[in-house]
């Protein structure tokens, strides 16, 4: 009876509970001073919201889009939370990564944050999670901005938490803050223009009005500002410069969490705006994708991968690889076909899983040896074979070797490019895999064939780090072997978005 009522309650409020659980757990962490208790609360909250997102995904897959109006105000007037095939697909990734990152943080955070302040760290992490989930689920564009800022502010703090070990984290967080704020402000200016043009902030309503009204200069301005603002947040090529420092100096758990979720959510926002809100029915919008976003994506893939090859710091190397991966996703989006979009969505999830696991493994390496510089890690493969195996497995995923998740994403992108008749793009994607091979190879070469330093002290890695890292890696490997679920989710999402697309592409 009670169980039934609870289930009914959860089912009814599912969209809002997803955000509310971590959002309320964050202040609860603040009040509870004890770090073990806060960790327990945070972990519980993230696992709960993960379960809720999975339930939401199943429900949306079964019954179609789900709408929830806040405060009882109906959709175009009040704020609406709306779960459809697209965001229900992204949400489990975010909450799932957090569910792995929190146990991992318990093992690793002692290096970066003193025990007294760990509850602040956990509440910042939860706020970041809540913000990211909120961005994804809300159906109101201004609400996206608010949640984006909640998550961004929390992530500036999280990056700065690495400052206890390396003071460069402060500067990295500061740069991130300046850039992130400029990006968010551009985004909010874009929303202002949209509001000027249409008088509404609801996504569905905006899409409807923009589809019926002819696109004028105001809408185009909005498009430009939003594209650049979100492009900054997702590290599109010339706007990526905040990312390498932020990812390399943040605490390992934070890097793993942010790399797997923050840029992915920004990509989601971009997809949402391009395909739902603007619908690409103005030739200018399609033109911009073709002339600007696609080239930037490809330049990003090659430039960032090349830079990654020459990096001496493993975390920095993988940070650059993240920029390159964002390039793959952008090219998929810019193809403007259902296949391209689905490829990007698959890549979002697969890369999130792989990079999360990879950064966790690198964090283990860093913790054990006290360094992440390749030149100091010669021959580490012989002393830490399992950790190196995890890094190698993740690295193979970045290259796109068959049976890894990365292969599925690359395969999807290549076949999408071929379907769109873009032979050169398929070739470029394959060629760029060689660059990925280059940087992964450098790690393998150093770690397995370098001359080991006999005096090196290896500290034991806590099990709390090992288990989540391998768990996440196992999930990503599973996604490589059994891609059906993710592929279907991505295809459903892409199909649901593209009825808007008329008369473009080809």
């Amino acid at each position: 009876m009670i169980a039934g009522a609870t289930a009914g309650f959860i089912a009814k409020h599912l969209p809002v509970l997803v955000v509310l659980v971590p959002l309320m757990a964050a202040p609860a962490c603040l009040i509870t001073g004890n770090r073990h208790a806060t960790w327990a609360i945070a972990t519980l909250a993230s696992w709960t919201s993960f379960a809720l997102t999975v339930a939401l995904f199943i429900r949306v897959a079964g019954q179609g889009p789900l709408s929830y109006s806040l405060g009882g105000w109906a959709a175009p007037f009040g704020i609406e939370y709306r779960a459809d095939a697209l965001n229900a697909f992204i949400l489990p990734l975010i909450a799932g990564i957090a569910s792995f990152a929190l146990p991992y943080a318990r093992g690793s955070i002692g290096r970066d944050v003193e025990p007294r302040q760990q509850n602040l760290f956990y509440s910042a992490l939860l706020l970041c999670l809540a913000g990211l989930l909120g961005v994804t689920i809300t159906g109101d564009v201004f609400n996206i901005f608010v949640f984006l800022e909640i998550s961004s502010l929390a992530s500036y703090v999280l990056v700065a938490a690495g400052g206890g070990r390396d003071r460069r984290a402060f500067k990295a967080a500061f740069d991130y803050l300046i850039m992130g704020t400029i990006g968010a402000s551009f985004f909010v200016i874009g929303i202002g223009f949209l509001y000027m043009a249409t008088g509404t902030l609801n996504i569905a309503d905006l899409a409807h009005r923009l589809a019926t009204a002819p696109a004028d200069r105001t809408v185009r301005m909005a498009y430009g500002f939003i594209l650049v603002g979100i492009g900054l947040k997702l590290a599109m090529m010339p706007l990526h410069q905040w990312l390498p420092n932020a990812y390399s100096y943040a605490p390992p758990a934070v890097t793993a969490f942010l790399a797997a979720t923050a840029t992915k959510v920004s990509l989601y926002v971009l997809i949402r705006f391009l395909y739902t809100v603007f619908g690409l029915d103005d030739p200018f919008e399609a033109q911009t994708l073709k002339l600007l976003v696609m080239p930037l994506g490809i330049i990003g893939i090659f430039a960032a991968s090349t830079v990654a090859i020459f990096q001496n710091d493993i975390r920095r190397m993988f940070a650059w690889s993240s920029i390159a991966q964002a390039g793959y996703m952008l090219t998929g989006i810019a193809l403007m076909t259902p296949q391209g979009l689905a490829a990007s969505l698959v890549n979002i999830v697969n890369h999130g899983l792989t990079k999360g696991a990879l950064f966790m493994a690198v964090g283990m390496l860093t913790l054990a040896t006290g360094t992440s510089r390749l030149s100091d890690l010669r021959g580490i493969g012989r002393t830490m074979p399992w950790t190196m195996a995890a890094i190698l497995a993740g690295g193979l995923g970045l290259i796109g070797v068959p049976l890894t998740a990365g292969f599925i994403s690359k395969w999807a992108l290549v076949s999408a490019a071929l379907d769109a008749g873009q032979w050169w793009l398929a070739g470029a994607v394959l060629l760029s895999s060689l660059l990925a091979l280059g940087y992964v190879w450098r790690i393998v070469e150093t770690a397995c064939f370098g001359k080991a330093d006999e005096t090196r002290v290896i500290e034991p890695v806590p099990l709390a780090m090992v288990i989540p890292a391998w768990g996440l890696l196992a999930v990503s490997l599973y996604a490589g072997v059994q891609p059906a679920l993710i592929m279907e989710g991505a295809n459903a999402a892409a199909r649901s978005l593209l009825p808007h697309l008329t008369g473009v592409g080809g």
Binding site: F174, D175, I178, M179, I182, G183, F186, R217, R220, M221, Y223, G224, F225, L227, V228, G231, L232, P238, L239, Q241, W242, P244, N245, F284, Q287, T288, L291, L292, A303, T306, V307, I309, F310, Q311, N312, W320, V401, P402, L403, I408, W411, A412, V414, L418, A426, L430, L437, F449, P483, M487
Partner: protein
């Protein structure tokens, strides 16, 4: 349950064994388990009816993991035998990495042979590359590391070509089935190029003689069995009767021979010989008649065994005497009598003397060939005789004995088994013929082939002796291609002149590569403008620039 078991390619038996290998205790138990793996793999498909199993859908593609027909059955058997012999030979080793790599390598090769579609083929194709390179690296040291790198680049490159080809083919025909193809589009040419690299076609096969001699004693045996024979299988499956393969095969049979004769490192010499043998098979595939295909496939089968035997014996010498240089060895029949006996059988099989497996399989191809091709192949046989029998024979049966230990028991056992198999097939050819894919009656022991083969061998023997008399025998100038060295001073001058443009090109290429690399490094290295941490101001400037570009686009 039965269905599930049936649908799995035997490859997975190897792969599963490789996975549990590190868990088993490293001792006699593991040795027995290791030996049981190829037997189990063979048993799993030996009695199954022909057909396609393991059909799955992956990414919307219909894949066939396990296709069993006469061709794949025979190669499956050959690889099982090879894996068994290689593992037996390496039984004394306590190196988990090499053992696991061997298992994965054998499994991948088996999986590729049973692959019913190009995607599965590609996956296993790359897996053979990745696992086999470990066998080269296991030797340790800078030289084997670099050789392994070069090997890996070539092998992975072959895989990339295969992938590109299959993608194009899929676009064109919508089918991924791995069937006989015709060379009429870029796609099939690309696939042929991928096979050609792995089969070590002329000009594409440099990796073979480069990598094999640099691998471990046991690794060389394993390497020799799988990679190139997998390529032969792929050619036999994909391009039977493809005319261009005939001249290519003839060239392939002839060109490596001088190098085989000239090499001081006997394993290197053997690698060249192996390459030449592949040429015989390629000719058979190119001819494409049932008889010729039978010849190519049968030869591949026999070759796996006697070539393995040769690598085993030379490996035993390397392990026992500490060197494998022709110039440093002699009189081994005194110190390693068993090995000497076995290698003689291997060498005679190589030279395809009657009563050996080499003869009964090669003559199939010969009898299917046109007279011109036949003559060229007999000429090649003479060369093979020189390089295989005379060159190795001299090390074993002439000269002052060097100190050397006889091979361990397991090694001798493996060699003996191979020798027995080689002789068995040679004596009772019907055993092998019955397994060949086409049912064409053939009797090898008729006058013409026996006579021709003996003539060719005799000619080879005479030429060798003449060369020895003239003092032109190769090991005076070790390590360089023999033909160039024998060209004399004038020839050397001509060669020098011919080399100059090439050297200039090589210099130019190196400079281009160097400057390209350093330019890239200057751009993308840690302090390059691409990677440097910019001041926030410059980052913000980029935002403004990009916004400007976007807004500019609104005016277009």
């Amino acid at each position: 349950m039965d269905m599930l078991f049936q649908s799995l390619s035997p490859a997975f038996i190897y792969l599963a064994a490789a996975l549990v290998l590190p868990l088993s205790p490293n001792g006699r138990v593991r040795a027995l388990v290791l030996l049981a793996v190829p037997v189990a793999a063979f048993a799993s498909f030996a009695a199954m009816p022909y057909g396609e199993y393991g059909q799955i859908r992956f990414l919307g593609l219909a894949l066939t993991l396990f296709r069993l027909d006469a061709l794949s059955w025979l190669f499956g058997l050959a690889f099982s035998i090879a894996a068994f012999l290689a593992l037996l030979y390496a039984l004394h080793l306590r190196d988990s990495v090499q053992q696991a790599a061997t298992l994965i390598y054998a499994g991948a090769a088996t999986g590729a042979v049973f692959a019913g579609d190009l995607v599965t083929l590609f996956i296993f194709w790359e897996a053979t590359a990745l696992s086999s390179v470990l066998l080269i690296w296991a030797k340790g040291g800078e030289a084997s590391y670099k050789a392994g790198m070069r090997y890996l680049v070539v092998q992975v490159g072959s895989g990339v070509l295969l992938f590109a080809g299959l993608a194009m083919l899929w676009r064109e025909t919508g089918s991924l089935a791995f069937e006989a193809m015709t060379l009429e589009s870029l796609a099939t040419w690309t696939i042929l190029a991928a096979f050609a690299i792995k089969a070590a076609f002329p000009l594409l096969g440099g990796w073979l003689a480069d990598a094999y001699p640099r691998s471990t004693v046991t690794g060389a045996v394993t390497l020799a069995a799988f990679t190139t024979k997998l390529a032969i299988y792929a050619l036999a499956r994909g391009f039977p009767g493809c005319d261009i393969l005939i001249p290519v095969g003839v060239a392939m049979a002839l060109l490596p021979l001088p190098y085989a004769l000239g090499a001081d490192d006997l394993r290197k010499s053997l690698a060249y010989l192996l390459n030449s043998q592949l040429g015989f098979m390629v000719v058979g595939i190119g001819i494409g008649t049932p008889l010729a295909i039978n010849g190519a496939v049968g030869h591949a089968f026999a070759h796996i065994i006697y070539d393995g035997l040769m690598f085993m014996a030379l490996g035993a010498v390397l392990a026992g005497a500490g060197t494998i240089k022709e110039s440093e060895l002699g009189g081994l029949c005194k110190t390693m009598p068993w090995t000497a006996g076995f290698i003689l059988i291997g060498a005679l099989s190589f030279a395809a003397l009657p009563l050996t497996s080499g003869f009964v399989t090669k003559s199939l191809t010969f009898s299917a060939a046109t007279p011109l091709v036949q003559d060229l192949l007999y000429a090649a046989s003479a060369g093979v005789f020189m390089a295989a029998v005379m060159k190795t024979g001299r090390v074993f049966f002439t000269g002052t004995p060097v100190i050397s230990a006889e091979a361990p028991l397991a090694m001798r056992f493996a060699m003996g088994l191979s020798a027995l198999l080689s002789l068995g097939i040679g004596l009772v050819p019907g055993l092998l013929y019955r397994l060949l894919p086409f049912d064409t009656p053939y009797q090898p022991y008729s006058l013409h082939p026996v006579l021709m083969q003996l003539l060719a061998s005799g000619a080879g023997c005479l030429i060798w002796l003449a060369l020895a008399k003239l003092g032109w025998l190769p090991h005076e100038l070790p390590g360089m291609p023999w033909l160039c060295r024998k060209a004399g001073t004038t020839g050397a001058a001509i060669a020098d002149a011919a080399k100059r443009p090439w050297a200039r090109f090589a210099r130019w290429r190196k400079r281009l590569l160097d400057t390209g690399l350093s330019r890239t490094f200057r751009m993308a290295g840690p302090d390059g403008p691409l990677a440097r941490t910019l001041p926030v101001g410059s980052m913000a400037l980029w935002v403004v620039v990009l916004l400007g570009v976007t807004l500019l686009l609104t005016y277009l």
